[in-house]
Amino acid sequence: MTAVEIKNIKKTFTVEKSTITALQDISFEVNQGELFGLIGSDGAGKTTLFRILTTLMLADSGIAVVDGYDVVKDFKEIRKRVGYMPGRFSLYQDLTVEENLSFFATLFNTSIEENYDLIKDIYVQIEKFRKRKAGALSGGMKQKLALSCALIHKPSVLFLDEPTTGVDAVSRREFWDLLHNLQQQKITILVSTPYMDEASLCDRVALIQDGRILDIDSPHGITKKFKHTLWSARAENMYKLLTDLNIQPEVNSCYPFGQEHHVTFKTVDNLKSIEARLNQLGNKSLKFEQITAGIEDCFMDLMEQQKIV
């Protein structure tokens, strides 16, 4: 069964007499129990889509169904069934940790005790601060409290808007472990993130840019579709190599990628002659290697294709 169904959703905003299209005709489905990632940068439309699905905002046109209910007609039902953790911390700063949690439990006619099992793993990490005001918590602690509050009524669909933005690599990994545990409890999770490396932690992902879906598939499905031969290039001076590669006529794309550059060519036949030319330009210890594309390679390639179109 589908947990979320989106058909031709469109949303525009008017800012100072100019119209900005936040979502242009978006359609996709999320299956029940799935951990679904919405991956894209700031301004791609992730938050707008989440706000429409959680009934906080109306789309200009299109249909959206969450847990079997229509976001316009049945908004009250949806609000009972979804959990939503916005990107910006939105709990009551002047209530304590415990007060915030029991407030949200009461709103949904439940108690902390009733659904404690669901939040236990997360809440134990902040329980020692339960008398502390939420405003005085650190970033990581706030995030755990917000997640606990979003879960306390045992939602069937959970929306997490950029829970890992600005969070260090260790805490990010811990947060994803928490999500995988939640998934075991049969909760459908939609999570948005600007970090491409988090795509591989989802069952399926939608890559989103400028209000458009670039692709939807399993992480493996997306990388399988990469249609160029991808090469990694290294040399002693990586900046020189980058500038030299960028002026070679055969080069289709060239991006720095950690310790190497990822390069695609318009034609692959003449790698030897490019190598010779780069050597002549003074690139030492030059090395090309054929590699498989990752999500970020695919994302950038799809972005380039959009530009051309």
């Binding site: 800012v15 940068s41 700031d42 602690m141 260090d168 690599a169 491409m196 900046y239 720095p256 950690g258």
Partner: protein
């Protein structure tokens, strides 16, 4: 000459030691990555190096100036950009450039020349009189970096400069960093993207207020038998005793 030289720099808030005797040098023209988990003490250390916060103890010179005696001189010799605060959204691009140029002590004629050059290189000619808030995030970040560099500072401090931008813009931004370093500017940068740590000449990793590792990415990967900097970071940061509370 060293661009930054730090010895036993310490900052305590009451009984809490946020930065605990850190010692390191940064060479002129180097891209220096300053990594650490949330709460490790990066921001406090960076604020001290920018002359915004007085150390509790320890020594430091930045751009040749002593942190205790010449904090104002330091502020004039550095550029600073962060993702959270950079440009004034309700000023136009021209006004922002003029404002920062003035703050950094450039003359009107210098500001005029710089404005032209900056706008040309970023292809912002048509947007000069638009409000900054109307710009896409990626453009804002690039403009913000250029503004931080408007007075040709010896050192530029970048605090998570690429957060939230799309992957192509993120790389265009780093190309600007490479260019600046190539022309001799020292770049001091923090990031949560571990692939970006690989772009640095050297990287330091802070854990619980101390610098636990410092070296070129390749050196650190060898030392910690890690495939990439992400793995180095995880191995070190997992040792942290203090959370970010």
């Amino acid at each position: 000459m060293k661009a930054i030289s730090v010895q036993n720099l310490t900052k305590r808030f009451g009984s809490f030691t946020a930065v605990d005797k850190i010692t390191f040098d940064v060479a002129q023209g180097e891209i220096f990555g300053f990594l650490g988990a949330n709460g490790a003490g990066k921001t406090t250390a960076m604020r001290m190096l920018c002359g915004l916060s007085m150390p509790t103890s320890g020594e430091a010179t930045v751009a040749g100036f002593d942190l205790y005696k010449n904090a104002e001189k330091i502020k004039q010799s550095i550029g600073y950009m962060s993702q959270k605060f950079s440009l004034y959204e309700d000023l136009t691009i021209r006004e922002n450039i003029r404002f920062y140029g003035g703050i950094y002590g450039l003359s009107n004629s210098e500001i005029k020349v710089k404005t032209e050059r900056l706008v040309n290189s970023l292809n912002l000619e048509d947007k000069l009189n638009s409000l900054v808030k109307s710009l896409p995030l990626g453009w804002k970040q690039k403009l913000s970096f250029s503004v931080a560099m408007i007075h040709d500072p010896k050192i530029v401090f970048l605090d998570e400069p690429t957060g939230g931008v799309d992957p192509i813009t993120r790389r265009e931004f780093w190309t600007m960093i490479f260019e600046a370093a190539n022309l001799g500017t020292t770049v001091f940068v923090t990031t949560h993207y571990m692939d970006e740590a690989e772009y640095c000449n050297r990287v330091s990793i802070m854990v619980d207020g101390q610098i636990d590792a410092l070296g070129a990415p390749l050196e650190l990967k060898n030392r910690y038998s890690a495939a990439d900097m992400g793995e180095v970071f995880l191995k070190l940061a997992r040792r942290a005793k203090r959370g970010d509370d």
